[in-house]
């Protein structure tokens, strides 16, 4: 029954059409219910589906075919168990792994699906599970609830049916947004009866992934109301500051915009794995070739030799002639030579990766103490790709930054506060031990507020008027809403974290913003409540880049307080002589702040007399009621009053980077990893962060900004930038001819050890470019016609910053690079808005941050801090890659050495597919005898320890260039395998042909020769892996020598007399004890080892003498240093400390030393100002000032072009709020 509609639904939905509270009517359309499903299996279909999926892997099918072949006695050259046991092991292990993974997914699905939500049913509220919510249901949300599905807001507890939502999980923006219900539906309030009887019909767009766009209509009571994005609550948002609201479900479950945005999760394969799959085909072709050769050979042999040997070995009835024999032999050789593609390869790879993942989970240096978060490798199949990353796409908020704004410094009246000095008067970087300034004078100060400069407090407590004005301004001039928690704590609801930080700072310095009504602000100034009458709010916008308030204090003085970007404020300062000094000093301070990556704001004040104000007020009123060009006229009026200001000072806010971000970025750049920042933030914010984390530097030749709104604009901008770079390059090329990809001389590098990471700040800045592109320009840049040009430009730039990008654009950018650059990409982020990019990139990393855990849940790796990325890539990634490459190189070697012996032997047995080994040996060779040493190598090996991996980021380059495992290396190891197999066969042949034992018995029987070859093989391949092992832990010793031991042990056991009593299938009875007593066996073995190993040794030494790799140089360096450190252990410990100290201080100096940048950094959007003054937004629970009728919300259909606001310096305004304003 379910099936049919399910098929029907496949038709693409053109328009959504449903009726509220009418399940019967809505059932006609089969809209998805609110249940989400990310799991792949159910308990009853697991076996079938899983097997089906597993057999999608060509390899598994191949092995099953082989198995079937082996059951045909006519061609079976090996016992079927030789394949059966490994294939069952593989399938079983994979199935268990898949099951465990799916159980996790089930659990997380269930936890979401089973959340409770209140639904309006029969005039009452009924608790229902999320998964049972249907389109057309009316549900109630309470404060701090997660929005259940995509809802049409019907009514809310707040005035004017406003609700506040946080969209952090959706788009990463943490500021609150406002949504407002239609007036007609708002009237229903919380009248359950009315809500239940609400029978509006919605016709709207089909499910899509545009987060900021919605079009539809509500037809109710014979009226049509248009619905836009402002009336919609999207799943993934959280309700804030709103007691309750009711909403009508429009899209549910998989059809919600959030889910539509998450993108399909695709099975990620590493590039090595893709190469491996190609190689497997190649090997398979080689296998077919060998089998063909042997089949033809056998035909020839049967024709010219076998035919005469029929007296002793008659042809079988099923192969009456040589052609049939050759045909059958083809299959027999396919079977016998199949071990060139060993099944255990894939199992081993999975297990190695699992082991490596555990090491990531266990790494204490990637454990985030504050949140008790260890690093998690959620996907255990991508480890080696961590060693090959070329591009990192990073989110900004919560990833690079902590999303915490801190009031860090300020300059008041020409005195700079905020620097911390030690006893010797040297500026230091405060750490946890730096004593905090004394805030005891202020009861409202927050415990965790950190400010270290006592002088500022002294200045306030001593009554310095300038300081008082400074903080008074901060306490008055803003659009923050105060709130009191049930516990009685005062908290602020700020629209931007910057504002919050400033108001909070004022609070801590004794100017506590207490409450706000539509026309007053109450501030507790050093314990004394003062109420100011707010006469006007001259709100922020991106052109003005400033905000002013005009207030009248209790004694009737009218003042204008203004804060804004320095350039803007400076233009409007009065030009009195005495101010000149102040301006200069402040400019100096501003430059210093900006140089440290701080976001600065200038503060200014102006006294107004009653008359001036009244005149202005008139003008203002006129402007605000003008019918034409209202905006322009208002601006002009504002301009008029904001003149001849007196500079108070400037604030410096730190958009607190996560710990170690600049260092990490610097080090990763040294490892030739290109870092792109993709953020939903505005351009200024993004650029500012770019500077403070050293992605953009003053030394850069140019930072291009692309902010066009049309295709042609963007195209022109890209072309212009590209040409600029080309010009620059052609001019500069003779100078910068040095190739930064060549490995620097090791001597240079030893000196760099001491300087550590500081090096990068001096190097290669001369010809670098940065690129900043806006989201609305990116739309065009990602157009098919332009995308390659855009990519070319981006590749020429050292840093790329994309701002105002949507989640899907993030993914598209990643796809673009992934597709066209053939590079390995990594995306790192923390919010739901990063999910699509995390899924799109080769590797997704989630930061378990403030913004929920969606990013983590869709990521492949997760940890608490951005800086761990350095260790993940440079240490774990590099090691994993190196280990995996060693593993592959060795694995093919050992299997070719093993398998091709059959081929050589074929030429001595008429190419009849006689195995050169015992079946038992064939079964155990890959599983038991040779699996553990290389497995342990792949788990434990470290060519260099972690400190060196981080110290010398260039060690990462071989991974990016695929140097350790590629087609060339693959062929090398195969050829080595073939040569070894030749030695393995022909040396025993020479030593044993017509051989006799000292007691006269013949030694040249099949079983003895098999044993000799197997023994030599085991010893040689074990020695080979021993040569490859560069890190001999006790475990490696145990397994390497242990596998030789286990070989002899098992050989003796299996070939002993005892087992033969049970079964005649143990044909090799007595061979071990007969063979191993022959001295000639041992001499043959030593000879084989010498012949196989010495050339390897010789060539490795030769290469390391003549063409040492960078890695080898560092290895020697490490060896030398360790030797030295052993000699003077104590001193070494001290010097290490000294080095880290030095790194630290050098780094600090470097940062300070960088040229100051004129800092405009006003992270502030067009605010709530109008909402406040019009009283539409008053404080919660402060409804003592109702505004009846004052501003009746009008239904204003959104301007059609609202998604493309006027191009104001490339910064889009906050459209949500913009449209909220009464026009």
């Amino acid at each position: 029954m379910d099936k049919l509609p399910w098929f029907k639904k496949r038709e693409k939905e053109e328009q959504r059409d449903f009726k509220a509270n009418d399940a019967e009517y809505n059932a006609n359309f089969q809209y998805a219910v609110n249940k989400i499903k990310t799991s792949r299996y159910t308990w009853y279909n697991f076996i079938l589906v899983n097997l089906w999926e597993q057999f999608h892997r060509v390899v598994n099918v191949y092995f099953v075919c082989l198995l079937i072949l082996q059951f045909i006695p006519e061609i079976s050259s090996l016992n079927p168990t030789t394949t059966l046991i490994p294939i069952i092991t593989v399938l079983l292990i994979t199935a268990i792994k898949d099951a465990v993974d799916d159980i996790k997914r089930h659990r997380s699905d269930d936890s979401v699906n089973n959340r409770k939500s209140s639904v309006v049913k029969d005039n009452s509220l009924v608790q229902e599970k999320w998964m049972d919510i249907k389109v057309g249901d009316v549900i109630q949300l309470k404060n701090n609830d997660h929005v259940t599905a995509d809802l049409l807001l019907l009514s809310s507890s707040e005035e004017h049916n406003l609700v506040y939502i946080e969209t952090a999980e959706l788009d990463g923006e943490t500021n609150l947004k406002v949504r407002q219900a239609l007036n007609v539906t708002g009237g229903m309030n919380e009248d359950l009866k009315a809500l239940h009887n609400f029978d509006g019909v919605i016709k709207c767009e089909a499910p899509n992934n545009y987060l900021h766009k919605f079009t539809g209509n509500l037809y109710w009571n014979n009226e049509t109301h248009s619905i836009d994005n402002e009336k919609i609550l999207l799943r993934g948002c959280t309700l804030r500051n709103t007691e309750w609201c009711f909403g009508l479900v429009i899209f549910a479950g998989p059809e919600t915009k959030l889910m539509q945005n998450t993108g399909k999760s695709v099975l990620k394969r590493t590039s090595i794995e893709r190469l491996l799959n190609k190689l497997v085909w190649l090997i398979f072709a080689f296998l077919l070739f060998l089998a063909t050769v042997t089949a033809i050979g056998n035909t020839i042999w049967e024709r010219f030799v076998g035919v005469y040997f029929q007296a002793y070995m008659p042809w079988a009835t099923y192969s009456p002639n040589e052609y049939m024999s050759g045909f059958l032999m083809f299959w027999s050789y396919i079977i016998i030579l199949n071990t060139v593609v060993p099944i255990s390869l894939f199992v081993s790879v999975e297990f190695i990766r699992l082991g490596q993942s555990w090491f990531i989970d266990w790494d204490r240096l990637m454990y985030y103490e504050k949140k008790d978060l260890p690093a998690v490798a959620r996907t255990t199949t991508l480890n080696e790709e961590l060693g090959q990353i070329e591009y990192i796409f990073s989110d900004k908020t919560g990833t690079l930054t902590q999303n915490i704004m801190e009031f860090n410094k300020c300059t008041i009246g020409g005195i700079c506060y905020g620097d911390v000095y030690n006893e010797d008067g040297i500026a230091i970087v405060p750490d946890d031990n730096t004593p905090n300034a004394d805030f005891s004078f202020n009861d409202d100060a927050e415990k965790d507020f950190r400010f270290f400069d006592q002088r500022l407090i002294n200045s306030i407590t001593s009554g310095d008027a300038k300081s008082h004005d400074f903080f008074r301004l901060l306490a008055i001039c803003h659009t923050v809403m105060p709130d009191v928690t049930p516990e009685g704590n005062l908290i602020y609801q700020a629209q931007s974290p910057d504002e919050g930080a400033l108001v909070t700072a004022a609070r801590n310095f004794g100017f506590v913003f207490r409450e706000r009504t539509f026309d007053t602000v109450t501030v507790s100034e050093l314990g004394k409540d003062v109420t100011y009458q707010v006469l006007a709010i001259l709100d922020f916008d991106n052109v003005r880049k400033r905000m002013s308030v005009i207030v009248k204090d209790m004694s009737g003085n009218i003042r204008l307080y203004c804060k804004g970007a320095d350039s803007v404020i400076y233009e409007r300062l009065g030009d009195s002589r005495e101010d000149e000094d102040l301006k200069n000093t402040t400019t100096l301070h501003l430059d210093e702040f900006a140089g440290q990556g701080l976001r600065t704001l200038c503060l200014a004040v102006k006294n107004l007399d009653e008359h001036t104000y009244n005149v202005w007020k008139e003008a203002h009123f006129k402007a605000s009621t003008a019918l034409e060009d209202r905006e322009d006229k208002l601006s002009a009026v504002y301009e008029e009053i904001e003149r001849d200001l007196d500079l108070l000072g400037a604030t410096a806010i730190e958009d607190k980077l996560q710990d170690g971000v600049p260092e990490t970025i610097a080090n990763l750049s040294k490892a030739n990893i290109k870092i792109w920042v993709l953020t939903g933030d505005k351009q200024e914010t993004a650029v500012n962060i770019g500077y403070s984390c050293n992605m953009l530097t003053e030394e850069m030749k140019n930072v291009f900004v692309i902010s066009g709104y049309t295709f042609d604009e963007v195209s022109a901008e890209i072309k212009q930038a590209y040409d600029d770079i080309e010009n620059e390059r052609s001019h500069a090329s003779p100078m910068s001819s040095r190739d930064d990809t060549t490995f620097p001389n090791v001597v240079v590098h030893t000196s760099k050890v001491a300087n550590g990471r500081a090096v990068v700040f001096q190097s290669d800045q001369d010809n670098k470019f940065g690129l900043v592109i806006n989201g609305h320009s990116l739309v065009h840049a990602l157009n098919e016609e332009l995308e390659l040009k855009f990519l070319d430009l981006a590749s020429l730039c050292t840093s790329v910053i994309c701002c105002r990008v949507t989640p899907l654009q993030k993914a598209k950018v990643v796809e673009l690079v992934k597709k066209n650059k053939k590079a390995v990409t990594l995306a790192i982020g923390d919010g739901a808005n990063d999910v699509s990019m995390i899924k799109a990139a080769h590797i997704g990393v989630g930061i378990s941050g403030e913004e929920g855990t969606q990013a983590v849940l869709s990521a492949d790796f997760a940890f608490g801090q951005f800086r761990y990325l350095e260790r993940l890539l440079l240490v774990h990634g590099r090691w994993s890659y190196m280990r995996m490459c060693k593993f592959f190189g060795y694995f093919f070697y050992k299997n070719f050495a093993f398998t091709l012996v059959h081929f050589w032997f074929g030429f001595f047995n008429g190419l009849t597919a006689q195995s050169a080994y015992d079946d038992l040996f064939v079964t155990l060779y890959n599983i038991v005898y040779t699996s553990m040493p290389i497995f342990m190598l792949a788990i434990f090996d470290q060519d260099l320890n972690d400190k060196y991996c981080i110290k010398f980021p260039k060690l990462y380059l071989p991974g990016q260039k695929n140097e350790l495992f590629n087609v060339k290396i693959f062929f090398k190891s195969i050829i080595r395998g073939i040569l070894t197999s030749l030695v393995l066969f022909f040396v025993p042949y020479g030593a044993f042909v017509e051989g006799m034992s000292p007691s006269g018995a013949d030694m040249t029987n099949l079983q003895t020769v098999s044993t000799v070859i197997s023994t030599c093989l085991i010893i040689v391949v074990t020695l080979q892996v021993a040569l490859d092992t560069s890190y001999w832990t006790p475990v490696n010793h145990f397994f390497t020598w242990g596998s030789i031991f286990i070989y002899f042990l098992l050989t003796f056991a299996m070939y002993s007399d005892g087992l033969f009593q049970f079964s005649t299938t143990f044909q090799f009875i007595g061979v071990a004890r007969n063979s191993y007593q022959f001295a000639s066996l041992w001499f043959t073995m030593f000879l084989v080892c010498a012949i196989c190993i010495l050339p390897v040794l010789a060539s490795r030494v030769l290469y390391s003498i003549l063409w040492p790799t960078y890695t080898e140089k560092i290895m020697k360096l490490q060896l030398d240093e360790e030797k030295k450190s052993r000699q003077r252990k104590m001193k070494a410990a001290e010097s290490l400390h000294a080095i880290t100290e030095k790194i630290r201080s050098t780094f600090q100096l470097q940062r300070r030393g960088s040229r100051p940048r004129s800092g405009y950094a006003f992270s502030h959007e067009r605010g709530f100002g109008d909402l406040i003054t019009t009283g539409r937004m008053s404080m919660r629970r402060k409804s003592s000032h109702p505004q009846p009728g004052r501003s009746k919300p009008e239904e204003t259909p959104p301007p059609q072009s609202s998604s493309q606001p006027a191009p104001t310096n490339g910064v889009s305004t906050n459209t949500e709020l913009y449209r909220q304003l009464p026009v």
Partner: protein, 351 residues
Amino acid sequence: YNIESASVTGLDEPEDSKKPDNTAFKQQRLPAWQPILTPKSVLPTFFIISFIFIPIGAVLFTTSDGVREDFVDYTHCTNSLVPNETCASLRENRTRMNEPCTCVVNITLNTPMTGNIYMYYGLNNFFQNHRRYVKSRDDNQLVGTHVTNTSISKDCTPYRTDTVNGYQAPIAPCGAIANSFFNDSFTLQQEDGNTVNYLTTGISWYTDHTVKFNNPFPSNNLTAAFSTYTKPKFWNRYVQDLDTSNINNNGYKNEALEVWMRTAAFPKFRKLYGRLVNTNLPSGTYSLKINYNYPVTAFGGRKRFIISTTSWMGGKNNFLGIAYIVVGCCSFVVGVALCIIHFITRHKNVE
């Protein structure tokens, strides 16, 4: 999309810290030996190898050299009964192939042989390692289990059963290997006409004789034990008649059969035929009388009779000795070459 699965990332459990254990294993700080292939550490290896291998090679070579071995190829020996006719051609003649044929050939010992002396027959171009040939046996039968014409291993086809008195009797021992059992016999006479006596027991592996080959019940009465079986097609006698004089060398436990059943690895092989314990064979010409039964010329095979002493290394084979000396020398040359390169480049680096 999932909000409340914070437990996955560990947000929910503040009590017991998830901080990973600080063990050397988990932090990948296990104490380890980190050898690096530097010229300093590797170059001595080449010299050590050469200094070890060359003397070993010399010892092996002289040891092999000390082994006395003489052989005669009698493939085309003349029928001693019919002049101008070779036994080989007689065996190829379909009508007369069952006539007995004896040859007498001379074998010259250039130096006297002392101690344990071994006699071998050698075959060339005989594919005992053919896959189907190797398989064509029933170990179950050979270990002493009674088999019927149905339970006998299918691997033995086409030498599985044979028609006896109109019914299918299982062949004992079945299979191509047993069927092609080498059946020439040799008598060695000294110049003075004395026959050299040799033992045909003690020539097979101890494990083969005691474990792998057993006669079926009743093993003390082989006629009864093998009464339900028939002989292999090519044989002219039954398995219980292989050595009627010694029950411990009869039936499946016949050592010559055991030796034959241990299939050779290469198409050129020799198998132990008899042994002389602590004997002194003076140098000179011996005459070897051969009961020529085994046809090999049809497939281009050759037959040899070999008589040899052994050393602690086994038979005569110079391969190992020479190989050791060659490898030792190569190792030395490579060592020297690497040394030179090393010193040249080191010199350059200093500059």
